[in-house]
Symmetry: C2
Subunit: 199 residues, 2 copies
């Protein structure tokens, strides 16, 4: 799982983030101690503090990284080639596949939001607003170019993101279909939902 | 919130369930003690044990009741009047509105599933399977009667339920629109997603 954060250095910080994802997922954030995280990463609590000032800081690093990744993914898809339907297909396929493949991280990112300390919470909320805005603007683009037919763009954008996010709740390593197939299935459903011609 | 469980007697048991929903929602199940629950309900820990043998038993009561309610709701909607599209419209409107209005309970019901003790976990999984089956069978009915056009019924059923369940994640008392309007919006999106003629 440490390959999730290729940009995090050193390795020890990455190992701590991976250990935290496992511990938070198993017991919840509040019932996890810094000692639990350090031990699972094969370190002492003191060694954890070299990299993160607190348990909350580990959560913030996981959450910010996940939200930045999601925003980068939808931004790239929305700016891709083709009409709004083609771009939405890529966006949903990738967003859903990511939530399936990275369901353990995605659960932490989505469900432990209120545990974030104030400045990090605000930063994450800002990233979420930007992600919403990208999806809304792609739907608006599709409506104005006659590719989509949607009555309430805000609800439609929420529904598109919800479909992806909720995958992390139920998807496990044993789930079928594989993340990419699920993403493609959901992309088809979303295009129909948005009234895409020919969907 | 105690009006959620009109069939639970006596009042004290209902108050304990409501206190547990608040505590689990705030700190997570694992970090909540039976003392926290009892205190929030204005009782002693000993008084809690008169009604529930353990913290897990309180969670089970909340979770089973929520899942039974969801199953009853979708079963009634699927068996209602009109064609598959009319019945799906009622099903989604009510399922979404319930997850918005009861978001605090719904979050516990949905996110603390793995904390359930084994026999209750099995019972809840069985209720979930039945709920899935009702939705799948309504979609099959719509496809075979030519009302819906869906390529993968299993994915479509999952998506319908996901849209409702995920509302509990983000909906708060301050959210807009109101639960019934959101339900109606989502019902329109779902009918389009299922390729309902005229949606």
């Amino acid at each position: 799982m440490t390959d999730l954060w290729p940009d995090v250095r050193p390795d020890a910080a990455r190992r701590l983030m991976a250990a935290a994802v496992a511990a938070f997922g198993e017991r919840g954030y509040h019932a996890t101690t810094t000692r639990d995280i350090a031990t699972a990463a094969g370190m002492s609590p003191a060694a954890l503090y070299v990299h993160f000032p607190s348990k909350a800081a580990v959560l913030s690093a996981i959450s910010r990284s996940g939200h930045e990744k999601a925003l980068a993914m939808v931004t790239a898809a929305a700016a891709g080639p083709g009409d709004a339907a083609a771009r939405m297909r890529v966006l949903v396929t990738e967003f859903v596949a990511w939530h399936a493949r990275r369901h353990r991280v995605a659960r932490i990112v989505q469900y432990e939001l209120t545990a974030l300390p104030e400045p990090d919470y605000e930063a994450v909320v800002a990233l979420r607003r930007q992600t919403d805005a990208v999806v809304r603007s792609l739907i608006e683009d599709g409506v104005s170019s006659g590719v989509f037919r949607v009555s309430d763009i805000r609800s439609a954008a929420r529904a598109v993101l919800s479909l992806g996010i909720d995958v992390a709740r139920w998807y496990t390593a044993e789930s079928k279909p594989d993340p990419e197939t699920l993403g493609a299935d959901y992309a088809g459903l979303v295009l129909a939902m948005l009234g895409a011609a020919g969907a």
